[in-house]
């Protein structure tokens, strides 16, 4: 069990005033508190970008990695010590662009991680270029005549790739988002929480006002065990409405569950005197 005071690193976030990241940070803190898990067992792994700085504002074990590489670092840490609750933060460029390959494979593995993606549909820290989730036609410094590609659909990709907990939250609804993250942390397996995050500086289309009008919660009657329904829901986007909530959830053994040698976490196995005599004998 960790308190809000214990989670504060004492550093003041250097995000732009009004940035959607503040909402996500608050939801993340609340989720960590709500899980009741011990403070020192949280291990945060961050990519690069505005979102990558999140661990700096939190007092937990953390490693800040390279652009797009947070998921493999997190995978290695989790396999080394399955007792850690590994939470990964990154942005849309980090996870769905430069790190897209790792994203896909981490989900196939159903590695027990919680991946919170700060999805603002634009590159922020590099001062406003197109991102993999930018809408077609979106004009940026790198696409002054509008984006030509269609955007990546992270939820559909996640459902198709074997993620076992696929959710979307909104940075403007902290209570709802913190529940999605807390459930993602306690979920055994790969949990994606894609978070709609307004960028007040570089994205003047997908703003708080726009999200307030378009975002709606999946109804109580929605069944997240229905994979085909989840695919269908994941395709909804635009002025007519954007669903948030848990799109898909299933129970499947995690990658570590399938490795009998992890019944004791690797980090706890003694290494002072590993006897290799049998290995050598086999070579004779």
């Amino acid at each position: 069990m960790v308190t809000l005071a214990e989670l504060n690193s004492g550093k003041i976030p250097d995000w732009c005033p009004g940035c959607g990241d503040f909402g996500i940070l608050n939801a993340l803190k609340r989720a960590m508190m709500d899980t009741g898990l011990p403070h020192e067992k949280f291990y945060l792994v961050a990519g690069i970008g505005c979102s990558g700085k999140t661990p700096q504002w939190l007092n937990t074990y953390s490693i800040h990695t390279l652009h797009g590489r947070a998921l493999p670092v997190a995978t290695g840490a989790k396999l080394a010590n399955t007792d850690l609750n590994v939470i990964v933060t990154g942005g849309d460029g980090d996870g769905y662009g430069i790190g897209a390959g790792h994203f896909l494979h981490a989900m196939r593995r159903n590695i027990d991680l919680t991946y919170v993606v700060f999805n603002n549909l634009v590159y922020g820290l590099t001062t406003g270029q197109t991102s993999p989730t930018s809408e077609k036609g979106f004009a940026t410094k790198s696409t002054p005549f509008g984006v030509i590609e269609v955007p990546v659909n992270p939820l559909a990709l996640a459902i198709a790739s074997g993620a076992t907990y696929v959710a979307r939250g909104y940075a403007g609804d902290i209570v709802h988002l913190s529940k999605l993250i807390a459930d993602g942390i306690t979920h055994r397996g790969f949990a994606l929480i894609d978070v709609l995050q307004p960028c007040v500086t570089f994205n003047h289309k997908n703003t708080y006002e726009w999200y307030q009008k378009t975002v709606y919660k999946l109804p109580e009657t929605y069944n997240p065990a229905d994979k085909m329904a989840a695919f269908q829901k994941s395709m909804e986007w635009g002025d007519s409405g954007i669903p948030i909530g848990v799109f898909y959830k299933e129970s499947r053994p995690t990658y570590a569950d399938e490795l009998p040698q992890l019944s004791t976490p690797l980090v706890k196995q003694p290494i002072d005197n590993v006897d290799i005599d049998r290995l050598m004998q086999k070579m004779i």
Binding site: S9, K11, H39, E40, K41, Y43, V45, I48, K53, P55, Q56, N59, T60, Y61, S62, I63, H64, T65, L66, R69, P72, V73, A74, T75, G76, A77, K78, L79, A80, N81, D83, L84, G101, H102, L104, H105, L259, P260, Q261, L262, L266, V267, Q269, I271, D272, N273, V274, D275, I276, D277, R278, L279, M280, Q281, M283, I284
Partner: protein
């Protein structure tokens, strides 16, 4: 011929991929080691799965074998190309075993060599086998000439094929016997000048590749995590880890790409286990990014880089030593790393094990380099001495220490540059590790003074390592007239070349660079003491020579270089020496 003590027998088998040459080579080689003899086995093959031209060459001696020779005493030609390409390598008095029904119209240009037809295919069929069993018939015929212990050979066939069924093993044993009997009946095998005889009382020997020795060293050192992507000639390391994953309780993760590989290893090491990657130059190229992350977060990882000829795809299955400067300089910025290069299987084992101690004691990436010739050749060696491998995990602090040292300063400045490390999950040790520059607490900080302190602290680690790295190894007589300067797999061929040079009246020794970076401080004195330096390297530009000049100002003018994708040999070095200006001493 010479007596048993001077025995030097080389046997080359050649044929297309898929002919079972590698397996026959293993049986022959292991039979020799079980007879108490020493062997060295190297193979040459192109980058394909079926067809092409593959050879296995087994060199047998009564004393340790440092490398291969350019000549052989016996050839088993399973195809025409083997005959055409390797006829010239056979020593006078040697034999070429071939199937005249298969390998037709050959020139048979050598008057001093016996061409012995063995009906390999007919006898394989007579034994109840197929074309694939011709190699076993050949093995039997070879045994008849050189005196390989047939009982041991049959036992090895059983061990090798037993898993696939007793019947298959029996068929192969029959095939080998038919080959043996045919040779013994039709040729004067007794006159063959190279005879293997068992050496009772010899300690049992392993037959082990450089790759396997590295993997074994890592396991002995307590490495629990390997992340790798298949790439010749490094793949056998991942195979070895995977095969022993459960027995040794470790994880081998076959990753989506080498970028994931290095980052997973960093994650595992950061979480507190000994972790490594294994790859070749192409994979290492992708991992240069992660190398810097390991250095910046001061996460101890071990990276094995097995060289092959580049650039790009290059010669995927051949050998070269051309990545030295790349490995020493990879990644942007200035930071400490350690680069070490073993020269044989024994060094592969001990130096890889020790790499984990270096990595953890100084919290930096350690790169262990190898090359195809070292990685995939088999060495015969007694069991390694486990007591020579100790585990030193460096400065890892626990709860009690942490309670007394709050707040925990992960990156605080020390004299030798090494800061206290904590295993995540430990109470009172919570801290942040950014890839940005940071203060001693781990908070991102761009203050010029903070930057200066951290850069200098990291470089002090480099200086601390430099004080400890051993001097280059010297082999052969002290004060020799000529010193061959080598690194990596060139060690064995260079040491053997000393004997050949001695016969030409040249008294030479070998200076083997093992620890390359930090450049060993003692090296300059040794180099300056030498009377005449000759650089011997498996690359086109003399990379070690450039490093020596960079670090000491000493320019080695005389060079013997090989860059045709094939390994250096004692004969090649002697030839190269003779061609040097004033090469004849």
């Amino acid at each position: 011929m010479a007596g048993q003590a001077d025995l030097d027998f080389s046997f080359k088998m050649g044929g297309e991929a898929g002919y079972g040459i590698a397996q026959s080579g293993m049986i022959f080689s292991k039979a020799c080691t079980r007879m108490g003899l020493h062997v060295f086995v190297n193979n040459e093959y192109p980058s394909l799965i079926r067809g092409g031209h593959n050879t296995v060459q087994i060199r047998v001696r009564a004393k340790p074998v440092p490398g291969h020779t350019e000549t052989v005493s016996m050839v088993l030609a399973l195809n025409r190309k083997t005959m055409d390409d390797h006829e010239k390598e056979v020593l006078p008095g040697g034999v070429i075993l071939y199937d005249a029904d298969d390998v037709k119209d050959t020139k048979k240009e050598r008057g001093d060599v016996s061409y012995c037809h063995i009906p390999l295919l007919a006898l394989a069929k007579e034994a109840g086998g197929e074309r694939i069993m011709r190699n076993t018939v050949g093995l039997g015929a070879a045994a008849a000439f050189c005196g390989l212990d047939v009982g041991i050979m049959n036992q090895l066939i059983k061990e090798g094929l037993g898993k696939k069924g007793e019947a298959l093993a029996d068929t192969n044993i029959r095939a080998a016997k038919l080959g043996y009997d045919f040779a013994a009946k039709n040729y004067d095998t007794k006159a063959f000048g190279w005879k293997l005889s068992g050496r009772a009382g010899e300690p049992p020997k392993m037959l082990i590749t450089g790759n396997e020795a590295m993997a074994m060293g890592a396991i002995r050192a307590g490495c629990k995590f390997l992340a790798a992507y298949p790439m010749t000639p490094a793949s056998a390391i991942m195979h070895y880890f995977a095969a022993n994953e459960r027995e040794c309780s470790l994880v081998m993760k076959h990753v989506e790409d080498e970028i994931a590989g290095i980052n997973m290893a960093i994650g595992a090491a950061n979480a507190g286990v000994r972790a490594m990657i294994s790859t070749s130059g192409g994979g290492f190229s992708l991992q240069t990014e992660g190398l810097g992350l390991a250095a910046m977060t001061e996460t101890p990882v071990v990276m094995i880089e097995v060289q092959r000829p580049g650039p790009a795809t290059g010669l995927p299955t051949r050998t070269e030593q051309a990545d030295l400067h790349f490995v020493i300089n990879a990644h942007q910025g200035e930071f400490p790393r350690l680069v070490v290069v073993p020269g044989d299987a024994e060094e592969c084992f001990y130096l890889t094990a020790e790499a984990f101690n270096w990595a953890e004691r100084f919290q930096l990436p350690v790169i262990v380099m190898s090359d195809k010739y070292l990685a995939e050749s088999f060495f015969s060696h007694e069991k390694f001495d486990q007591s020579r491998v100790t585990v030193n995990r460096g400065w890892i602090v626990g709860e009690d220490w942490l309670k007394a040292h709050q707040p925990f300063k992960r990156y605080f400045s020390t004299e030798n540059g090494v800061s206290p490390r904590v295993i995540p999950g430990t109470a009172y040790g919570i801290h942040r590790e950014p890839s940005d520059e940071r203060d001693e607490l781990g908070s991102i900080d761009e203050d010029p003074q903070v930057r200066k302190v951290q850069v200098e602290r990291r470089l002090r680690k480099f200086a601390s390592v430099q004080k400890e790295v051993p001097a280059p190894a010297l082999h052969g007589p002290a004060g020799a007239d000529v010193t061959l300067v080598v690194w990596g797999s060139t060690k064995g061929p260079a040491i053997e070349a000393l004997e050949l040079l001695e016969k030409q009246g040249v008294r030479a020794n070998v200076m083997q660079f093992v620890y390359m970076w930090p450049f060993p401080e003692a090296a300059e004195g040794l180099l300056r003491e030498a009377k005449r330096l000759v650089l011997v390297e498996g690359n086109a530009t003399g990379q070690l020579g450039r490093l020596i000049r960079q670090q000491t100002g000493i320019k080695i003018e005389e060079k013997i270089l090989r860059y045709d994708g094939r390994p250096l040999s004692a004969e090649y070095i002697r030839g190269g020496f003779t061609s040097l200006k004033g090469g004849r001493a």
